[in-house]
């Protein structure tokens, strides 16, 4: 299925950026790509090709798209934005001490 393929491709692209890139800001972008991939996947999985879930009156309308994933993703987007903002702050702070944004100065992400 095409949406699974796009999800896996985007998710691993973001993961690749986190593993390989030598710039912390690019790693944050990678994290955002991973988040975006999950949101895309959620919305396409539950898409039934219906109408948008906003109606004009209280009469029951059939063939509406599922509103719950949209609400959950809105929450997820806000969470992701806060996480990125805070990570960028930490990078600004690190840049003050070391004058670089290279992740190698963390002693490697996979070492202690």
């Amino acid at each position: 299925m095409i949406n699974n393929f796009v999800f896996v491709a985007l998710f691993l692209l973001g993961f690749y950026a986190i593993l390989v890139k030598k710039n912390l800001i690019k790693m944050v972008i990678g994290l955002n790509i991973m988040e975006g991939a999950i949101f895309y996947w959620f919305i396409t999985l539950t898409d039934r090709g219906g109408l948008i879930p906003i109606v004009k009156s209280s009469q029951v309308v059939n063939n509406l798209n599922d509103p719950i994933p949209q609400a959950l993703i809105l929450t997820g987007i806000v969470i992701g934005a806060s996480t990125s903002a805070f990570l960028l702050t930490l990078i600004i702070e690190l840049n003050k001490f070391t004058n670089s944004t290279n992740p190698d100065q963390l002693g490697g992400m996979l070492e202690d």
Partner: protein, 240 residues
């Protein structure tokens, strides 16, 4: 060395990707709708909450507690950012753009503000809501610092005001939740008696009020984040 590491990463990730793809393709591709909670919401949301926008109905009524957590996350991020980047002096990042831009933006600002208020208050009738409108409110403050220079906004809309708006919004949200208990229900119960007819501005109980407090809270929070981050990006007194 770096190149071999690179190649190994690519190979491992492609193997992982193939595994994930095979695994994900085994899940059924049609969502089973009949037994789900969304069926109940789609059929009854307008009757039960009065909101014509189902997403808003979920965000501020069925799962309003999630929205409380979500706005708390922004509050936590703002607190952390202020903790790390706080300073005592006023940041003067720029003195603004040319006269024409300042005039034009001066005329546009009321309309942008009106637009954000529209989006916030009509969250239960049309696409939008507190979070979306609040982002526009925050953007006004950010554009001010670009167009008029950061000092302008800093003096008219001081950090104290922003903090008051942010914490005030959050406390009002909790207060609206307790009103639910006060009127004989549970925390964050929708106050359905605030209803002036389907499709009108005051029609979905406490949803428009929650939208409003969240909108101001988010706008102030984003402005605080921006003003904490712009310190020392530009040299003081340099005219851009």
């Amino acid at each position: 060395m770096s190149k071999t590491k690179h190649v190994i990463t690519v190979i491992v990730l492609s193997l992982l990707g193939i595994t994930m793809l095979i695994a994900l393709n085994k899940i059924p591709n049609q969502f089973e709708y009949a037994n789900s909670i969304s069926q109940h919401i789609v059929n009854n949301a307008v009757k039960e909450t009065g909101s014509l926008n189902f997403v808003t109905a979920i965000l501020y009524d069925y799962r309003a507690y999630d929205s409380l957590g979500e706005s708390t996350i922004i509050f936590g991020a703002v607190s952390g950012i202020v903790l790390l980047l706080s300073r005592k002096t006023l940041p003067v990042s720029s003195h603004g753009l040319s006269f024409i831009v300042k005039r034009t933006f001066g005329m546009l600002t009321p309309f942008i503000f009106l637009f954000s208020i529209y989006i916030i208050t009509h969250g239960h009738l049309s696409p939008g809501g507190g979070f979306q409108g609040g982002v526009i409110l925050g953007a006004i403050s950010i554009i001010f610092s670009i167009v008029y220079g950061s000092e302008f906004d800093y003096k008219r809309y001081t950090p104290t005001t922003k903090t008051l708006l942010e914490t005030g919004g959050a406390l009002l949200f909790i207060g609206l939740g307790f009103l639910g208990i006060f009127f004989g229900g549970n925390f964050l119960m929708n106050l359905r008696f605030l209803n002036m007819g389907e499709g009108s501005l005051i029609s979905a109980g406490s949803i428009p009020f929650i939208n409003t407090v969240i909108g101001f809270k988010i706008g102030a929070g984003l402005a605080i984040i921006f003003y904490s981050m712009i310190q020392k990006t530009f040299k003081e007194g340099v005219d851009l």
